[in-house]
């Protein structure tokens, strides 16, 4: 009798465990930087509910998104997502994700059904690669998503590399691959679309010590998509 009860309780426990694994999803995440010469700052992958988001195109950027898009810092976005019950995979590349490289990690999404991603693009003023609220499939399998470059709409794209990475400070923090210029006079001082939108791309020039831009038009341009995300739902 006692043995039977024990077996029964084991069966109950395992069935509960099984049900939980149906609700939550274990994800393998791979992020590929597909650009010619653009560097991604630390990547943030977040699983969250339908009411939560890192950004929406056509809407103004949150302060946390602006901080990420202008300087690469993801801490405020992480805090916002976690405060709303979401979970995050932070900085899988453990630093910059250079052009041509891939970073991978794992994320247990719990009961969060949507996936988002951000990382700043360098050298840009407030460009970022983004995924907004992709519905996580319930069926196990491998899924590929191509990602576009967005402009946070919070800073004019002057294309001057001056170390300016704080929110509201003009300029580009750095060209991490060491291929940026100096002495540019500035491409523009205005931002036409102050909502999050598709990035128009870098202009750049071919003058490393002058011209209008500190960006190299031969190295730092891109066309969408700029990244590939491969998600394996286990």
């Amino acid at each position: 009798m006692k043995t039977k009860l024990t077996l029964l309780s084991v069966a109950l426990i395992s069935s509960v465990t099984y049900n939980q694994s149906v609700i939550s999803a274990e994800l393998d995440v791979q992020v590929y930087n597909l650009t010619h010469g653009i560097t991604f700052t630390p990547v943030l992958v977040a699983a969250h509910d339908q009411q939560t988001a890192l950004f929406h195109s056509g809407e103004s950027a949150s302060a946390a998104l602006q901080k990420m898009a202008e300087g690469g810092a993801i801490d405020d976005l992480v805090a916002n997502v976690e405060a709303a019950g979401g979970v995050t995979l932070q900085n899988p590349a453990q630093g910059m994700l250079m052009a041509g490289e891939m970073a991978s990690g794992m994320l247990d999404t719990g009961d969060n059904m949507y996936l988002s991603l951000t990382a700043m693009l360098l050298p840009t003023n407030d460009g970022f690669v983004g995924l907004d609220s992709w519905k996580i499939p319930t069926q196990a399998g491998t899924y590929q998503i191509m990602l576009n470059a967005y402009d946070a709409g919070t800073e004019a794209n002057d294309e001057i590399i001056n170390g300016g990475g704080a929110a509201g400070t003009p300029g580009i923090p750095a060209a991490p691959a060491g291929d940026g210029g100096t002495g540019g006079s500035g491409v523009t001082s205005t931002e036409n679309n102050t909502n999050v939108h598709i990035h128009p791309g870098n202009l750049g020039d071919t003058n490393a010590s002058g011209g209008i831009s500190d960006i190299d038009s031969r190295v730092h341009r891109w066309l969408n998509p700029v990244a590939k995300l491969v998600i394996t739902v286990k």
Binding site: S57, N148, T188, T190, N192, T194, H197, I198, I212
Partner: protein, 236 residues
């Protein structure tokens, strides 16, 4: 004539929904000549369009409901003059009044970069009609975005779908980046002359005054795909 404009009317339901602004022109087919027993199965869709460019206002978008075998443009083929007028000058009046079109909706004004607008569109799902949308990027010679031959009948009530839109070049006007009607130049819109490849194709983007002599365009007028986002929700 089967496609005479027999009346311009505002949809009654439209006035109940305050945030929306749109006109509806009903190009009546022969439906009104007899009682339609399926009248109560009219479906209502909310079409929401966001301009995701940095500096390219959209001309007043044209949304049309048409027969399934109507194609308002074909990639790789020459644009008709109705599309040419829309893509070069932002004028959708001919575009929305073509054979096969059952209903046409148009915005009252342009859609600015970053702006979002919504329209209510009604159709009979049982008839198998499809939806197309087109709007000009006004700071270009003949670039337009849109979608064509979208089947709405698979959407259940309350369900929505999102699509992102690419930029096409109508192929009817050379891209000198100067003879353009938008605020960047305030120049010529439609011109019946055809001095480009004369086929609709994916737009290669703009070059700007920094790399094209004679261009009036600035870096802010550059764009990359997708330039717009559309959400279609079946309301009833």
């Amino acid at each position: 004539m089967k496609h005479l404009i027999t009346g311009v009317r505002k949809l009654t339901l439209l006035s109940l929904i305050t945030a929306l602004s749109a006109c509806s022109i009903d190009f009546n087919d022969d439906d009104d000549d007899h009682q339609d027993p399926m009248q109560e199965t009219t479906a209502m869709y909310q079409i929401t369009l966001t301009n995701n460019t940095q500096g390219q206002p959209f001309s007043p978008p044209s949304i049309v409901i048409h027969e399934a075998d109507t194609h308002l443009w074909q990639l790789g083929q020459a644009a008709n003059s109705a599309l040419e007028k829309l893509a070069e000058g932002g004028d959708a009046s001919d575009f929305s009044n073509q054979s096969g079109i059952k209903q046409a909706y148009h915005a009252e004004g342009p859609l600015a970069p970053g702006a979002t607008d919504s329209w209510l569109v009604e159709t009979h799902p049982s008839k198998g009609y499809q939806m197309s949308l087109a709007t000009m990027l006004v700071n270009t010679n003949d670039a337009f975005t849109g979608l064509k031959n979208l089947n709405l009948s698979n959407l259940a009530i309350g369900e929505s779908m999102m699509k992102t839109l690419h930029v096409y070049d109508a192929g009817t006007e050379a891209n000198d980046e100067s003879a353009l009607p938008g605020p960047a130049a305030g120049g010529e819109g439609y011109n019946s002359a055809r001095n480009d490849v004369n086929r609709v194709h994916i737009h290669a983007g703009v070059i700007t005054e920094y790399e094209l002599s004679g261009s009036v365009l600035q870096p802010t007028h550059k764009f990359d795909n997708p330039v717009a986002k559309i959400v279609i929700k079946r309301m009833q």
